[in-house]
């Protein structure tokens, strides 16, 4: 049985990946992902992982190399952040179209410019439509668990899609938190060997990445969309299996004191824990506040979101990225469109906050609740605001 230990989250993620019998990793360092790259290299250098570590010259090549290796049938891993993820962008939809079960950690960080190394979600949001399964984690335990679980989801023969795991940069990657690290034996029991359906090997020659024009292209796009939608069933099954083996249950949408809540807040990633403290504070004052945490970003959990917010009067969506000149933050537009056709739904507010690592203390979350409660005439609904930004 695993014992409870404390460790820096990025290092712990590398340790967890090290338990997964990966065959190959190609990682290019970037703050705040670097500790994953460095610790994986240590594990390979010490012979603790029997894998090829390819010291690529860029993130573009990191993603290209894992695509090649995964195509060859190797269990392949990478990790990146911010500019590195933007640099990979071109290749992400290709990896999913080829149905390659690559897994990737993203230490979420603001995208330039100006250059900024701290946390927000502006790196992952532009990758939204690349056809990857996309998961957000809140704490060390989740980061570790999802790093292992991701392989099992990705490699399921009914999924065969790449997975990214979003871990807030610094705010989470550089924290030392207590967690339970599964043992090698436990991971071996949970994660079966990868059985690819076609590989780049002369034993059975295949062509991958062929050229398709209008006579086939739309069907290929539809197939990818269906594959991503259908992956939800498997994601839920794998999470259930994990809960049975390790006692930690995961759902696409998590709630906290939401059942009777009149005002709900929705968060993604590590901010959920701070928001939770705000809920406790507000509850102590008699405010019926609650929290909804969105863990599964793609495939988007429509039914779960609808069910979680149905009975609330107001919903505060929080965004850590901007859709410039658009309808608000990306999470806001997604949630709004999910609820559009619902007869019973809350009014929605959007606060864009914590950009470029700006600290968001508990009081700010309390402030957001107070602000929407004061808006009794619902004059501010359906708009977005940059929270705590100097004019």
């Amino acid at each position: 049985m695993a014992k409870r230990i404390g460790m820096e989250v990025a290092v712990a993620v590398a340790e967890a990946v090290g338990l997964c019998d990966i065959d190959m990793a190609a990682v290019y360092p970037i703050t705040p992902q670097s500790h994953i790259a460095e610790h994986l290299s240590d594990l390979v250098a010490d012979g603790k992982i029997d894998a090829e570590f390819v010291t690529v010259e860029s993130e573009h090549s990191a993603m290209s190399a894992v695509i090649g290796a995964s195509g060859a049938g190797a269990r392949s891993y990478t990790a990146t952040s911010s500019q590195g993820l933007m640099y990979m962008h071109e290749l992400l939809p290709i990896a999913s179209a080829m149905r390659l079960p690559i897994t990737m950690a993203i230490a979420n960080r603001a995208v330039s410019g100006p250059l900024n190394i701290l946390n927000d979600h502006s790196d992952i949001m532009p990758q939204r439509d690349s056809g990857w399964i996309s998961i957000f984690v809140e704490n060390a335990q989740e980061a570790i668990d999802m790093s292992i679980i991701a392989f099992k989801i990705a490699e399921n023969k009914d999924v065969m899609l790449p997975v990214n795991i979003n871990i807030d940069g610094f705010q989470l990657t550089h924290m030392v938190e207590p967690f339970e690290m599964p043992t090698q034996e436990e991971v071996r029991n949970f994660l079966p060997p990868f059985v690819p359906h076609a590989t780049l090997h002369p034993a059975k020659p295949v062509t991958m990445g062929a050229f398709a024009m209008s006579d086939y292209f739309p069907e290929i796009m539809k197939a990818k969309d269906e594959a991503l939608k259908n992956s939800k069933k498997i994601i839920l099954e794998v999470w259930d299996e994990w809960a049975k083996m390790f006692g930690r249950a995961y759902k696409p949408v998590e709630t906290y004191k939401a059942e009777d809540a009149e005002v709900l807040m929705l968060t993604m990633g590590s901010m959920g824990e701070t928001a939770q403290m705000a809920i406790d504070e507000l509850r102590a004052k008699g405010v019926k506040a609650g929290l909804v945490k969105l863990r599964l970003w793609r495939p988007f959990p429509f039914a779960e979101i609808k069910a979680a917010v149905k009975n609330a009067k107001k919903l505060i969506v929080t965004d850590r990225a901007v859709s410039f000149g658009g309808p608000g933050g990306p999470v806001f537009s997604e949630v709004k469109s999910a609820l559009y056709a619902e007869a019973q739904r809350p009014v929605i507010y959007d606060y864009i906050y914590g950009l470029g690592g700006r600290d968001v203390p508990v009081g700010d979350f309390v402030g957001m609740f107070e602000r929407v409660l004061a808006d009794t005439a619902n004059k501010e609904v359906d708009t977005y605001e940059f929270w705590g930004v100097r004019e």
């Binding site: 029997d50 195509g71 590989t199």
Partner: protein
């Protein structure tokens, strides 16, 4: 007896009869680039995995749901064939070591055009070569971005007219000298670098086989005549390739562990470059003086090469 003139007699014995790039692909008639790719596949044999860049050769050979490839082949993007190949090599190495696949030796090959290699994929190639992967990279140099409509690349020769560096009233086409890609690869200190041309099939095949026998990175730069882009008759691709070699415009040589060697096919005395230029529409606008200037550069560069072959034997 001249081997090329008696090709049918020799070919069955000297060349792998199996077609690993099958006919029915969509290359233009008279394309020497696709001929070169076909010869490369023959030389490599079946235990090969190829990663291709975007470009003519990718488009003509992989129209979904068909494929011309009888060896495992992957295309991902324009600028990353070398990194994809490096990942395949690493993946196969790990799987073999762990006993997850059969133990046969498989050669991984990256391939791309001059644009994919010398311009947009330059960094990826440099990285893969520097890391020392056990792979071959082959550049099929037709001296422009042909797939997208004959735009200039850093492999386009001085004076050639392309659609983005056209000859006009105040311009003579390409204003820069062709990037010396094989020398850049030599500077990577890799075990084997060679130039080749499908107009010399046996020389090309021998070089491919040598590259295949080397454990480590090797680079082949293959001069590939494109009748469509060069505006020459489609039945002239082979003779045009021979003229490029005979004039010293594209000398055939190899560099093994730093030792230079000119191929035996290189003539003792070079023909004038105007013999090579005159059959091609892309050079038609050049004046006698401009051709002289280019001739001067070709002569100098060839002299440098012969000196290297002398001193770095």
């Amino acid at each position: 007896m001249n081997i090329v003139e008696n090709f049918d007699l020799y070919a069955p014995r000297l060349i792998n009869k199996k077609e690993l790039l099958s006919s029915g692909h969509r290359a233009c008639s008279g394309c020497a680039e696709v001929l070169a790719v076909r010869l490369m596949a023959k030389a490599l044999g079946e235990n090969t995995v190829i990663a291709s860049a975007t470009g003519c050769m990718e488009i003509v050979s992989s129209m979904f749901p068909t494929t011309a490839w009888n060896v495992p082949w992957i295309h991902v993007a324009f600028e990353n064939a070398a990194s994809v190949a490096s990942g395949i090599e690493a993946g196969l190495k790990a799987l073999r070591k762990k006993g997850k696949i059969d133990d046969r030796y498989v050669k991984v090959v990256g391939m791309g055009g001059d644009g994919a290699t010398m311009d947009i994929g330059f960094q990826a190639l440099s990285g893969a070569m520097e890391r020392g992967h056990d792979m071959i990279y082959v550049c099929f140099d037709n001296e422009a971005y042909m797939n997208t409509g004959i735009q200039r690349s850093s492999g386009t020769p001085m004076g050639a007219s392309t659609t983005t560096a056209p000859a006009g009233k105040v311009s003579s086409g390409q204003k820069t000298w062709k990037k010396n890609m094989p020398e850049i690869m030599v500077a990577h200190d890799i075990p084997y670098v060679a130039t080749a041309c499908p107009s010399y099939p046996l020389d090309f095949i021998r070089k491919m086989e040598k590259a295949k026998s080397i454990k480590g990175p090797s680079y082949i730069h293959c001069f590939s005549v494109c009748p469509t882009g060069w505006r020459c008759p489609s039945n002239q691709a082979i003779s045009m390739g021979r003229l490029a070699v005979e004039t010293g415009v594209f000398p055939l040589y190899e560099v093994e562990n730093g030792h230079y060697r000119l191929s035996p096919d290189m003539p003792k005395k070079l023909k004038p470059i105007k013999d090579y230029f005159k059959g091609q529409g892309r050079f038609r606008h050049l004046s006698a003086e401009e051709i002289d200037t280019i001739q001067g550069k070709v002569t100098t560069e060839f002299k440098k090469l012969t000196e290297k072959a002398k001193f770095l034997k």
